[in-house]
């Protein structure tokens, strides 16, 4: 058995670098005059293009009290522009202004404690104004255009550090894509804003309130980050969402979503030298905006004592443990990635083997080495669900034992080899293309000083040693650096 394994390792050391090299040579990068970076990756498998438009804007960029506004404007960017969705722009514009006035009058009345009757009257006027505005527009015009043209995966997501817009279309729709998104970047109209506020409230209920994992995440992050915005719920609090107003949302949009803060990636049936002309024609028309404002995002002070929180909830118990740690490009962040794989990647990983297989104490265990974002110092997080009658206390004890072992003994050469092989294979799989490759390239280009970084990371992982792992484990897996959140069954066990 051992012999065979060593043979295998020898073979892997000589894996061809050709596929990565090929891909690397095929990627074309252009920078438009307005600062937009465009990456194109030709892949002729099928006549389709996967688009990813990523901005370096997310939850951390929100002002206090406007929590979740980045996510809200992500929704609003699907509502169209004057030339996409309006049935009569001058009239619709006036109608939208009337909605804003009605909302302001209502807000003022509530603020000064106006009579119930007056508030009812103003609410009715506000609702009436919304109905008038809705008559003058198509409800979801961007979706309509892409649906009609055979889209797949039209979607967007907002993180703490970034926002990205994704869609895949037949390759001859390149110009349609550019026409739509260049217009959205210049002229987004936040129509049906207050209806969308209600939608986001439902999204919050669904993801953060009625889902035990979402609910536990919220209390966990709030405890782990007392100052840094990673401690705020990405979707915002209920009060914050109810307080959204069009002017504040538009101001956020106009402050941040500019071509010089974005990367556009096209993967698929493209011919870079030809297609960049069309990209320039449309995306090049979008004016450059201000650079990222200095936001004075407060850094999280070093943690000085263990923090423990419990959430009583109508669900079975679960456990989340986080340790503060540095982020990329710190070498320690890469070491943490290796530790992540050693602890929970696969059935032979340390925590899975110990908690799930040997002790039969957990249904499952998982970890993440860069949570909940990556731009600022973040957390190494371990999550586990106990198997009754075992408890979260049992799991904590077992996890700490394994973390101590990581500090006290070097990991084995076999473990390191396994992680290196998995890293290499995972990296080659990303190169298979599709929407995943588009997103990965956008991410590296925007945050890691250029997409080329993808091709350099493997070398970093390959030089990480057993000693470094021990050092990093000792430095960060300490009691005082720890936040523990436990979901306790309402009226029951933990």
């Amino acid at each position: 058995m051992r012999h065979k394994l060593w043979l295998v390792m020898m073979l892997l050391l000589f894996l061809p670098a050709a596929p990565a090299q090929q891909l690397r040579e095929q990627i074309r990068k252009y920078t438009l005059d307005n600062g937009l970076r465009v990456l194109m990756v030709p892949d002729k498998t099928a006549p389709v293009i996967h688009f990813n438009l990523m901005f370096d804007v997310g939850g951390v960029d929100e002002a206090p009290g406007l929590g979740g506004i980045a996510h809200m404007v992500e929704h609003m960017a699907f509502k169209g522009t004057p030339s996409i969705g309006s049935l009569d722009w001058p009239r619709e514009k006036a109608a939208l202004e009337a909605v804003d006035r009605a909302r302001a009058e209502l807000d003022q009345a509530i603020a000064r404690g106006a009579s119930q009757e007056e508030i009812q009257r103003l609410t009715a006027a506000f609702n009436q104004a919304r109905e008038e505005a809705k008559k003058l527009a198509l409800p979801n015009p961007i979706d309509q255009l892409f649906t009609n043209n055979g889209e797949q995966g039209l979607n967007a997501s907002t993180g703490y550090d970034r926002t990205d817009y994704r869609v895949s279309v037949p390759s001859n729709r390149l110009e349609l894509y550019l026409r739509v998104y260049a217009d959205v970047m210049m002229n987004a109209v936040f129509r049906s804003f207050y209806e969308e506020v209600d939608v986001v409230l439902e999204e919050r209920r669904q993801r953060n309130e009625n889902d035990p994992n979402g609910a536990l995440s919220e209390v966990f992050l709030r405890a782990a980050f007392q100052v840094h915005p990673y401690g705020r719920p990405l979707i915002g609090s209920r009060e914050e969402i109810q307080g959204y107003r069009v002017d504040k949302a538009l101001a956020f949009w106009r402050t941040h979503y500019h071509p010089n803060r974005a990367v556009l990636v096209l993967v698929g049936d493209v011919e870079p030298e030809r297609d960049i002309q069309l990209v320039r024609r449309y995306m090049g028309a979008v004016p450059r905006g201000p650079e990222r404002p200095s936001l004075n995002i407060p850094s999280e002070p070093p943690q000085t004592a263990e923090r423990r929180v419990t959430l009583e909830y109508n669900a079975q118990p679960s456990l989340r443990i986080g340790f503060h740690k540095p982020t990329y490009p710190s070498r320690e962040a890469y070491v943490m990635d290796v530790i992540d794989a050693i602890l929970t990647e696969g059935r032979t990983s340390r925590l899975f083997r110990r908690l799930v297989i040997q002790e039969q104490a957990a249904l499952n265990v998982s970890s993440s080495s860069a949570s909940p974002g990556f731009r600022y110092p973040n957390l190494f997080v371990i999550s586990a669900q106990p198997r009754a009658p075992r408890t979260t206390q049992d799991l904590e004890r077992l996890i700490y034992e394994e973390l101590e072992r990581l500090k006290n003994e070097p990991v084995t050469p076999q473990e390191l080899t396994r992680v290196r092989n998995q890293t290499r294979a995972a990296y080659l799989r990303v190169l298979q293309g599709g929407p995943g490759l588009a997103q990965t390239l956008a991410f590296y280009e925007l945050f890691f000083g250029g997409y080329q970084r993808i091709f350099e990371e493997e070398a970093i992982y390959n030089t990480i040693t057993a000693e470094e792992i021990q050092q990093v484990a000792r430095k960060y897996f300490t009691e005082q650096n720890r936040t523990v959140a436990t979901l306790v069954t309402k009226g029951g066990s933990r």
Binding site: M1, L5, V8, L12, L15, P19, T45, P47, V48, F78, T81, P82, S83, S86, L87, P139, N140, D143, Q144, L145, T147, N148, N149, G150, Q152, S168, P170, S171, N172, R173, E175, L176, R179, A182, N187, E195, E196, V199, E202, R205, E209, N210, D211, A285, A315, G346, R347, T348, V356, I357, L363, R387, A388, T417, Q422, R424, A425, L428, R429, Q432
Partner: protein
Amino acid sequence: MKAIWSLLGAALLPLALAQGVPSDWPDPFKMQFPRLQPAVIQPTRVQLSNGLTVLLVEDRSLPFVSGRIYLQAGSIYEPDDKVGLSGLFASVMRTGGAGERDPGAVDEILETLAASVSVSSDTLFTSVAFNTLSENLDQVLEIWADVLIRPRFAQERLELEKGRALEAIRRRNDQPTQIAVREFLRRIQEGHPAGRVSSAASVGSITREDLLAFHQRFFKPNRAVLAISGDFNTQEMVARLERVLRDWRPGEVSLPSFAPPSPKPAIYFVQKETNQSVIYMGNPTVTAFAPGYSELDLASRVLGDGFNSRLFLEVRTKRGLAYATGGAQTQGFGWPGFFYGASISRVDKTVEVIELMLGQFRDLRERPVSPEELELFRNNILNAEVFRFTSKQAVAERIARTQMLGLPADYYERYIQQIQAATPADLQRVMQQFVRPEEFVIVVVGDQRQFDKPLSSLGRVVEVPLE
């Protein structure tokens, strides 16, 4: 195809092109593009000497090989008192050791090679897949064949996976959506094995002998199809497969047949303290690609597919009553699929939302859809056809399933022809023929103390207790 865009064009014409964009930019609603034809991927079909059908597609672009074999061994064939068997079978088949290797050795070598062998099951099939760097193909193929033909089902791993399955059962009432989906699938497929739900007792009673018997009964090469793609030479691969599968002997498999589901229309209500209600409603219709299916598929897209479907527009966009809402005609193979809608919406508007949803189904029966709506979803299907060919492995797997299901080879071309020919009257006809809101199974999970009206105002309510 032109109706909607000329109509919208007329509305937009006086003001288009001057709203914050250069005047020479086209109106996106008037941009016309030809429908692209996919570059069809045709796998090579080979029959091995033991009767196994293999579909192969070479793809030398990256150093990987993937494969998946399908066997007619789904959950509908589990005995009534052993519901949960196929799921447990799949996990212990992969994790219980294989051939000469004990469970730990299989995991160790696969994870060191950064390869995977996985077993999964659904109502109809169990499938055994692998993915590996091509350098390690021989070793991984050998392990895959061991898992497929010579699983050991180690007793201690069966106990482990049973324990985990019981814990999952203990946790299955944690999320309201999970409760609603389970209850809806159970009620709408009542009377058919697909409508059964596992219990602590059914899982607890499963033995190693049950797993061996399941394997013995269904795993025959002449009743399986293997789809394989990646970095290999086809002839060499066939020789490899002959070698690693040489001990696998063909045999008879007799599959029982089942009466179709016979759901009992009612409002099935599950009390759960939450501030949203999860609502599912629908009835069984036709099997996939049977007469009426294509038109029901289109009608269901008008009802619930995406931002411009009626449920989305009425429940979400116009009223802000839900974040998640939609519907579909499901693909039923062997027994009818169902036509359904769902919403996760405000608890204090539960009955209002149910009525709003029912109204959308009724409207599709009472009036023809607009030509614009029909064109939108027809174009979506036609233009998205190119995405059926973005992955060689996915194409090979689709053809494998097509064969296992006994669908005609040209089923998709026929479907496309029907999509092209469908009229608003056709959609109304199938809605009237197959979708009957007064006979719906409706599942509601929510907190009835906060409902706007009692559910009984809508019809007969059956309270379903949570175990």
